[in-house]
Amino acid sequence: MTFAIVQDFLAAFEFIFQARESRAGTVQVGGLEEFAFLTGNHLLLSGIAVAVAVAIAVPIGAYLGHIGRFQFLAVSISNVGRAVPVLALIAFFIAFVGVGFTNVALVLVLLAIPPILTNAYVGTAQADRDTVDSARGMGLTERQRLTRIELPLALPTIFGGIRTSAVNVVATATIAPYANVETLGQPIINFNVYGGTGQLAAAIVVATITLAVDAGLGGVQRLVTPKGLKLAAQPAGGRRSLLARLPFTPRRKVQPS
C-alpha cells in the first residue's frame, strides 16, 4: 500500500524529466522540454494577468483609500469575488465570449483585481493619521501626501494583496486548457493522453511553482516594507505578513472601555 503510493509519486517525478509514449501510444508526452514549455506559458499568462490587475486596481484602490470614500464597495468586492467559483467563471467565458489567450487572461484579471483593490484601499485608508496630519502640516499637497506618505506606508498591505492574487491566478491558470491555452493544466485536463502519472506530475509542478511564487512575493513584501514600519512592528515579528495574506476582513474594533 505505502509502497504503491511511493511508486506513484516516483513515476510522476520521472514523468517530469523523461518523455514517454502517451496512453494511446501515438505521441511522446511529458519530459523536461514539455514541462518547461508549459511552465513558461503558465507563468507568462499569470504574469500578464497580475500585471494588468495591478495597473488597474492599485491606482483605483489607493485613490479611493486616499479620499476615504466608497469603503463598502472597495471591501465587499473581495467578498463577492470569493463567492463566484472560478470554474464557473471560466466556463461562462468559454461559452459566451470564446476561447483563447486573451479571454483567459481577462478572466484571470477579473479574479486578481478584488484582493489588490481591497488591500490598496485598506492600506491607504489606514495609513497612520498622525503621520498624514504632520505631512499636511508640513505643507505637502494632496498628491504628495498620497505618493510620499500614504502609498509607502500602504506598500506592505498592497503587496499582500498582490501576493494573494498572484497565488490565486497561478492556481487558476491550471484550468486554462479548457479554453485552449496550454498551461500546466494540460496534463491534468487531458487525462486520456497523459494518464494518471501525467496528472500527478503536473499537480506536483503546479503546487511547487505556486509555493515558490508565494515565497518569492513574500520576500518582495518584506523588502518593500519601509524601515520605519518594520521598527514599529518589531514586537509582532513576522506575524504581520502572515496575517495579511488573505483578502482583508474588516474587523469590529472592540474598544477597551
Partner: protein
C-alpha cells in the same frame, strides 16, 4: 470525467435533445444559445449534483470548523502555537486546490473522502485566524471581571471569551463556507461529483454553464445568509459583524 476533445467538437448535443418536442427549444439548443425552455425541461438533472455539492460543503465546513475551533482554543492557551499554526495552515491554503486533489489521489483514492480532506484543509486558515483574532480582541476588562467573579480559566473561556469572540468566529465561518462552495466546484478532479462535474461535462453549452454556475453562486449566497441568521439567533443583542 475529463473530456479532452470537448472543445474540438462544440457544441455538444445534450442529453434529452432528441426527446424534446418544442421546435424552438431544439433550434435553440442546436445553436448553443441560452435556452430557458431547455433549462425548465432538464432542471431535474441538476438536482443530484446540487445536493452532492451541498453535502461536500456541509461536511467539509463542519469538520473544518470543529478542527479549527479546537486548534483556536489550543492556541489561545498556548500562545506560542499561534505563529506555527498560522504558518502551517497558510502553507496548506497556498497549495492550489486542483493540485491538492490530485496529490491526494494516490493516497486516499478517488471519491468524496479525498475531496473532503482537501476542502477541510482549506477551511483551516480562515476559521483559525478569525478565531485567534476574535479571542485576542476580547476586552481585558471583561476577562478580569470574570476572574474577579471567581470563574475558572475554562469557565472564563467558555462563558466570556468565546461568546464575545463569536461575531468574528462566525464571520470566519461565513468566509469559509462561501470559499468552500467555490473550491468544491473543482472536486470532480478528486472523483467527487457536485456542480463542478456538471459544468465540466458540457463546458461549451451555455445553458448548462449558466445553470450549474448559477446554482453554485446561489448556494454560496444561501450559506452566507444561513450563517448570518445563525449569528442573529445566537446574539440577538448585537448586530452581526460584517464578513
Amino acid at each position: 470525467m475529463i473530456v479532452a476533445s470537448l472543445f474540438a467538437q462544440a457544441p455538444q448535443v445534450p442529453e434529452g435533445f432528441f426527446t424534446q418536442r418544442d421546435p424552438d427549444d431544439l433550434s435553440c439548443v442546436a445553436e448553443n444559445g441560452f435556452c430557458p425552455g431547455w433549462i425548465v425541461e432538464n432542471f431535474e438533472r441538476y438536482v443530484d449534483p446540487f445536493f452532492e455539492h451541498v453535502y461536500l460543503v456541509a461536511v467539509s465546513v463542519a469538520i473544518g470548523f470543529a478542527i479549527a475551533f479546537c486548534l483556536g482554543l489550543l492556541a489561545h492557551r498556548q500562545r506560542w502555537l499561534t505563529g506555527p499554526l498560522i504558518g502551517a495552515t497558510a502553507a496548506l491554503y497556498t497549495i492550489p486546490s486542483i493540485a491538492l486533489f490530485l496529490l491526494l489521489l494516490p493516497i486516499t483514492g478517488r471519491g468524496n473522502t479525498t475531496a473532503i480532506i482537501a476542502l477541510v484543509a482549506y477551511t483551516q486558515l480562515i476559521i483559525f485566524r478569525n478565531m485567534v483574532n476574535g479571542l485576542r480582541n476580547v476586552p481585558a476588562d471583561a476577562v478580569d471581571a470574570a476572574a474577579g467573579m471567581g470563574l475558572t480559566p475554562t469557565q472564563t473561556l467558555l462563558r466570556v471569551e468565546v461568546p464575545m469572540a463569536l461575531p468574528e468566529i462566525l464571520a470566519g465561518l461565513r468566509i469559509a463556507a462561501s470559499t468552500t462552495v467555490g473550491l468544491a466546484t473543482l472536486a470532480f478532479f478528486a472523483g467527487a461529483g457536485g456542480l463542478g462535474a456538471q459544468i465540466d461535462a458540457q463546458i461549451n453549452f451555455k445553458s448548462n454553464v449558466v445553470v450549474a454556475g448559477g446554482l453554485a453562486v446561489v448556494l454560496a449566497a444561501a450559506l452566507d445568509l444561513l450563517v448570518l441568521g445563525m449569528q442573529r439567533a445566537l446574539m440577538p443583542w448585537r448586530r452581526a459583524a460584517p464578513a
